[in-house]
């Protein structure tokens, strides 16, 4: 069967998946009764509601024509997410300076019109700025250099 409205169908499917996942996990918690709601009660209620909403989006999308699934632009997404992940991984062992330089250079690749020299310069500038403002002036507790 052909899905007529890809966009709404997958949107609904995402909500159904999340709703069901919450209900499944919540089933391990005590439900309690309405008068004495256990920790599982409200999440199950909401999970069910989200699933129903998801179905009401995905169902009609099978029959009614609609928009195609939007093209996700992989490059900016992957580069930005990778740069944040790298920052998180490098920060503690290698210190703020190294992590910040990696963050801004990898993140810079998110722009398809990247100019490498400019990006490196900007990275150094931003790192220096952040060290001065956030660490030296505002006193955020960052290790600047690798923890040897």
């Amino acid at each position: 069967m052909r899905i007529r409205s890809q966009k709404d169908f997958w949107c609904g499917a995402i909500f159904v998946a999340i709703g069901v996942a919450f209900m499944v996990v919540a089933s391990e918690y005590r439900m309690g009764t309405a008068a004495r709601m256990g920790p599982g009660f409200f999440p199950t209620l909401l999970g069910g509601l989200l699933t129903a909403l998801g179905l009401s989006l995905a169902g009609p999308a099978l029959i009614r024509d609609g928009e195609a699934f939007p093209r996700l632009h992989v490059r900016p997404m992957v580069m930005l997410l990778a740069s944040i992940g790298a920052f998180g991984l490098l920060l503690v062992p290698f210190g703020f300076v190294a992590a910040a330089i990696v963050l801004t250079i990898v993140g810079g690749f998110a722009d398809p019109d990247l100019r490498l020299v400019e990006s490196v310069g900007l990275s150094l500038l931003l790192t220096a700025f952040s060290v001065v403002v956030f660490v030296l002036l505002l006193g955020l507790p960052f290790n600047l250099w690798p923890n040897l």
Partner: protein, 500 residues
């Protein structure tokens, strides 16, 4: 007059050197970031949130409020000069404001925006001071069922005003509520949805979610558009102060915009956006020669700018008195207060009067700073606008990461940032707006608690939600709102209004 005593007390709090300084820094930074195209007030407040964590609660709120006004005004500057609204509430300003700029009248447009905002801000501050205490007193008498239904009403109100599909917006609210439940259940001590990750015991990182969905997801979205080239209005902006004739022309527009904004700001889902749209429509209806609107009529700038500032101000009323956010910025404010260990609501108002009255007084001071800062600094903001996006986004990236990390000093929060950025981007592409989600996130645990208490008292009978008159009224209001959207005629009108 009791109110004068209260205000005097509030000014006593706000006029300490420290608070004045942070209010000023807030307004300055808010404007600075808000001017940058593609960054609205929500993203600005989210990005600057971590700066306030080390301050005491009153000072933190004063600074955040300053950031909010600044960002709001910054957005208007962008709207007038570049024809890109920084956010939805300055969409209407682009219509006449940008026309004025093209005609070489950018200066007066920016000037009247600042003056209108200031007048509206002063009036709305009085409204907040007058109406919050009685509302807070009424709220103290709310039972759990009333609160639960009030929150349902608030969330539905926010959803109805979101763009696009109603079902998607409701689904986003529910998703937000669910994410709000992650962490330790206050009642049973049970850890829910934490998957044994210690960082999740305290719940989902509010800042990571806000910055992921409003900051990073937006950056990805902007980068893929690739049309970063912006047309900043060439040539000078001219004198900033509007002429006397122009001022006289605007007097009533500002007055109408202020009144309308003050009123609409209080409604759930209201605030700046609805106010500015309504004000522009009213101006067009009232004007004797409505044709000049859309072609650089200064009243088309004055009224919505006054309205959105008044609305931004009075949207603090439900947040401070009831603990219910009426828009995403207020949700961030509640999040900030909760990080400070304060649960906003009527109790907080009684127990921490310095917090409430300090904020009220600082609203006025913030507006004054806004005026004093913007008239002379407009040249600086204009130059900022010329910074290309490719130089801007690495800075946004950096500030978001530092901000998210510095809240708990836990690298895991950066992983949350990655997850929420990805989720936010995909949902954005599927036409799901993040605003309802963040409202849900803030209200999730509260709604559960009030529902639990309501059902405990009624021995599990959900009829209590309709037998309490107040609760029933809120639920009926919510239903009416929902139905009004389902009625095709009104829906069509809403779509037209959103498109304009």
């Amino acid at each position: 007059m009791e109110i004068l005593d209260h205000l005097a007390f509030g000014f006593g709090v706000a006029v300490s050197l420290q608070n004045l300084l942070y209010c000023f820094i807030g307004v300055f930074l808010g404007t600075l970031i808000g001017v940058l195209p593609g960054i609205g007030p929500v993203a600005t407040v989210a990005m600057l949130l971590p700066l306030t964590f080390n301050l005491n609660p009153a000072t933190a709120m004063i600074m955040l409020a300053g950031i909010y006004y600044g960002a709001q005004y910054g957005g208007s500057t962008t709207a007038i000069l570049v024809n890109i609204p920084g956010e939805s509430s300055s969409v209407v300003t682009t219509i006449d404001g940008h026309q004025m700029a093209k005609q070489g009248r950018a200066g007066p447009a920016l000037g009247i925006a600042a003056i209108g905002s200031f007048i509206a801000g002063c009036f709305a501050t009085l409204v907040v001071a007058l109406f919050s205490p009685p509302l807070g007193e009424i709220a103290l008498r709310f039972g759990p069922a009333d609160y639960f239904s009030l929150m349902v009403f608030g969330l539905i109100g926010a959803v109805v005003l979101a763009r696009g599909s109603l079902r998607k917006a409701i689904a986003m609210v529910v998703l937000g509520l669910l994410l709000g439940l992650v962490g330790t259940d206050v009642n049973s001590g049970q850890q829910r949805f934490t998957f044994n990750i210690p960082a999740l015991i305290e719940g989902v990182s509010f800042a990571a979610l806000a910055m992921g969905m409003f900051g990073i997801a937006e950056v990805i979205y902007n980068l893929e558009q690739r049309a970063h080239e912006r047309q900043v209005v060439a040539g000078g902006i001219g004198r900033v102060l509007p002429s006397l004739t122009e001022l006289r022309r605007c007097t009533w527009s500002i007055a109408r915009g202020t009144a309308l904004g003050s009123l609409l700001g209080i409604l759930p889902g209201g605030g700046a956006l609805l106010s500015s749209f309504a004000a522009y429509t009213v101006e067009k209806k009232v004007a004797r020669e409505p044709r000049s609107f859309g072609e650089g009529d200064i009243r088309g700038v004055a009224a919505p700018e006054a309205a959105n500032n008044a609305g931004a101000q009075t949207s603090f009323i439900p947040m401070l008195t009831l603990g219910v956010p009426s828009n995403p910025t207020m949700a961030l404010m509640i999040g900030a207060l909760m990080i400070q260990g304060i649960q906003p609501g009527p109790q907080a108002m009684v127990q921490r009067p310095e917090l409430f009255w300090g904020i009220v007084a600082s609203m006025w001071i913030g507006n004054l700073f806004l005026l004093l800062l913007n008239l002379p600094l407009i040249g600086l903001w204009v130059r900022l606008l010329a910074v290309p996006y490719r130089l801007l986004f690495p800075a946004i990236l950096m500030f978001c990461c530092i901000g998210v990390y510095s809240i708990n000093n836990n690298p895991f929060d950066l992983l949350q940032l990655v997850v929420f950025s990805a989720l936010g981007y995909v949902l954005l592409k599927l036409d799901c707006e993040p605003a309802p989600l963040i409202l849900g996130l803030v209200l999730g645990p509260m709604m559960e608690e009030y529902l639990r208490r309501a059902l405990l008292i009624s021995l599990g009978n959900p009829i209590v939600l309709v037998t309490s008159p107040l609760s029933a009224a809120f639920l009926i209001a919510a239903l009416v709102l929902l139905l009004s959207i389902a009625v095709p005629a009104i829906r069509a009108q809403r779509e037209v209004a959103m498109k304009e």
